[in-house]
Assembly symmetry: C2
Homo-oligomer: 378 residues x 2
């Protein structure tokens, strides 16, 4: 059994449940490696049980040493037939999802669910057959990365760095945000990777909107250029932001830029020092305190607070646990991979964000993104 399934078995034991029903696509990818299901519609469930006691009705395929079932429909039956550890239960016109749940409920009574992912209508259907036990452990299932996961994120970050290096050379007068975004995407795909989200390219005033929608705006001289993009490599994501200046930056911009950069450095320093202390003194460090260190620096410098959290975990999802926000209750632990991305945004002027990905190792953090952070003027 692999470590991930072992971990899940321990969650089953701890919560005293008979099985867990995994519904979120990233958790399905994490546990069975198959990444073909849509994020937009429910196309599959993964049921992992304490013990499979019988072969339920509708079982199309059973592999030896089965730990549970992948419940999906005929569009995927062939594609998933080679997944190890899991049998396949095929939803069809003759064998509805209700039929499958009913059949499973003969031996499985209490199931752990991802209550942030199961919809209210799905929960009503499930309640007909099972006692539902929401499990927070499932939300944080992927919070600590294994070595091979870190390697994949590292590779994604490396391609991201190459992409930044490439795209800086393409910044020229008259190019549109969309054209630049597409060049980024093209570069990444040429590297046999994918984008982890549609790149955000924001020129001038547009950069004051943290999640600006890349538009047909053309680049003019003396403009901010904010680039926020990520790479997906073998199911694992990177994410990075750099803000450069097209033209000659004035003092106002330089101050905003440097304050953002210093805020990130504050967070990194605080992280390194407090995590080392934590390791020796075993005092837990909240991610919220890292957010605070960076946020307060920006506010004290006379700028508005960061209108988003300082950072987020990253892995199969671009945004996952832990959260580095003022109200987060997450505690720093070795093996966590997350972003540190302070930003200053001035409406009708523009904004600066600098974002890197780090992995928390036993002696502090290790940076996974390496693109330059001095103020680049083009």
């Amino acid at each position: 059994m692999n470590n991930k399934l072992k971990h899940l078995k321990s969650i089953i034991a701890k919560n005293r449940i008979d099985a867990v029903l995994i519904s979120s696509v990233p958790n399905i990818i994490y546990l069975d490696g198959y990444s073909g299901f849509s994020y937009f519609e429910r196309e599959a469930f993964l049921l992992i049980s304490k013990k499979i006691v019988t072969q339920p009705q509708g079982l199309a395929h059973k592999t030896p040493g089965v730990f549970g079932y992948l419940i999906t429909d005929g569009r995927y039956s062939e594609a998933v037939s080679k997944i190890p550890y899991f049998g396949i239960l095929e939803i069809s016109n003759k064998n509805s999802l209700d039929d499958i749940f009913k059949s499973l409920s003969k031996n499985i009574k209490k199931i752990g669910i991802e209550e942030y992912n199961i919809s209210l209508s799905e929960s009503k259907k499930l309640k007909k057959y099972f006692k539902l036990i929401p499990s927070k452990d499932l939300r944080n299932l992927r919070i600590i990365k294994e070595k091979n996961e870190v390697l994949k994120i590292k590779k994604a970050c490396q391609i991201g760095d190459e992409a930044f290096d490439f795209i800086v050379k393409k910044i020229k007068s008259g190019i549109t945000e969309k054209e630049l975004a597409f060049k980024l995407e093209y570069f990444i795909k040429k590297k046999h990777a994918d984008i982890s989200f549609p790149p955000i390219v924001a020129f001038g005033k547009n950069s004051s909107i943290p999640h600006h929608q890349t538009s047909s705006e053309k680049l003019r001289t003396n403009s901010i250029v904010l680039l926020d993009f990520g790479v997906k490599f073998e199911n694992y994501c990177s994410d990075m932001t750099r803000t450069v200046f097209f033209g000659k930056a004035d003092e106002k911009f330089k101050k905003i830029y440097n304050t953002t950069l210093e805020s990130q450095q504050k967070a990194i320093k605080f992280l390194n020092s407090s995590f080392i202390i934590h390791n020796s003194k075993t005092k837990p460090v909240k991610t919220a305190s890292i957010d605070k260190a960076a946020r307060q620096y920006i506010i004290r410098s006379g700028y508005p607070t960061i209108p988003h959290s300082l950072g987020h975990g990253i892995g199969i999802d671009v945004h996952e646990s832990p959260r580095l926000s003022p109200k987060s209750k997450d505690i720093l632990k070795e093996g966590m991979v997350f972003s540190i991305e302070p930003g200053i945004y001035i409406p009708n002027y523009g904004g600066v964000r600098i974002e890197d990905i780090v992995v928390l190792e036993n002696k502090g953090i290790c940076l996974l993104t390496h693109s330059p952070k001095h103020l680049i003027e083009i």
Copy 2:
């Protein structure tokens, strides 16, 4: 007030509720035109109330003639500030989502929700403040398209046709599925449009998996080439599938191809005749009967049943109401736009799918995709 908001007000009156809480991204785009929110995380709610009686705490912005509130956070405040009809309630560290709901609950007691979209944990939070009334009307809010919506889908389909015309010329020995998919994407983006989903390109045996994950497989002579892709134009999607043959098709393939094509023609004929009868005799026609016409033709020809539904509505989402499946209860109505996509899939051999988009007009259907459907050998 626009027609869409009028429709929503009638849903509020019919369900005797005080407000509806729109949570799904496509419904938010449909109602306020803003398409910047993520599909992967909850970033906004749109509250449309019977009557706005007070200005709740935390209201950052109020436009005259307000019909409700867009509830979102600081990352989006500036971007959404120009949306007409709606005030903005900003979620922040000082004003949590709970605070906002609590404040709204002073005047709003019963709210209609999208129970297929609200998660179980969100419903628990909402229940603290409101009586939740699941509303099926919200799921079908976009089922009938207005004229300008059909025009956008038509334009998306037209770009799709041009893309097909382009991509057929790029099919050559040794090219990979991924390369072909990327060329499609590049062509579509050059047309100032976007892809509506990652293109499915399947060579040879891969085409027997209806939702094959486009791979690095290289094209060899005498192979099936299945292309399933869509365009997004001004928030509206197209979707089409063509299956061509690289080499000289043998009798086996020709028979599968022709049976699929004939199955689609059966569906179209049945649709046209029954909908005209329906219009004069006012006898409702179920979408399920269209699925049956196509499905039975394939089964009677000696092939396995279609492992998916015959078709799906399309609009802001690639897959939306109505559904053309054996168990669907949807009734055909003028203004519906949907796909008709029969397929025959033979494991370890390959498959054929032919998919077009149609709009149901008062005298039958009108085809929106026009790419050739005779067997193309390259």
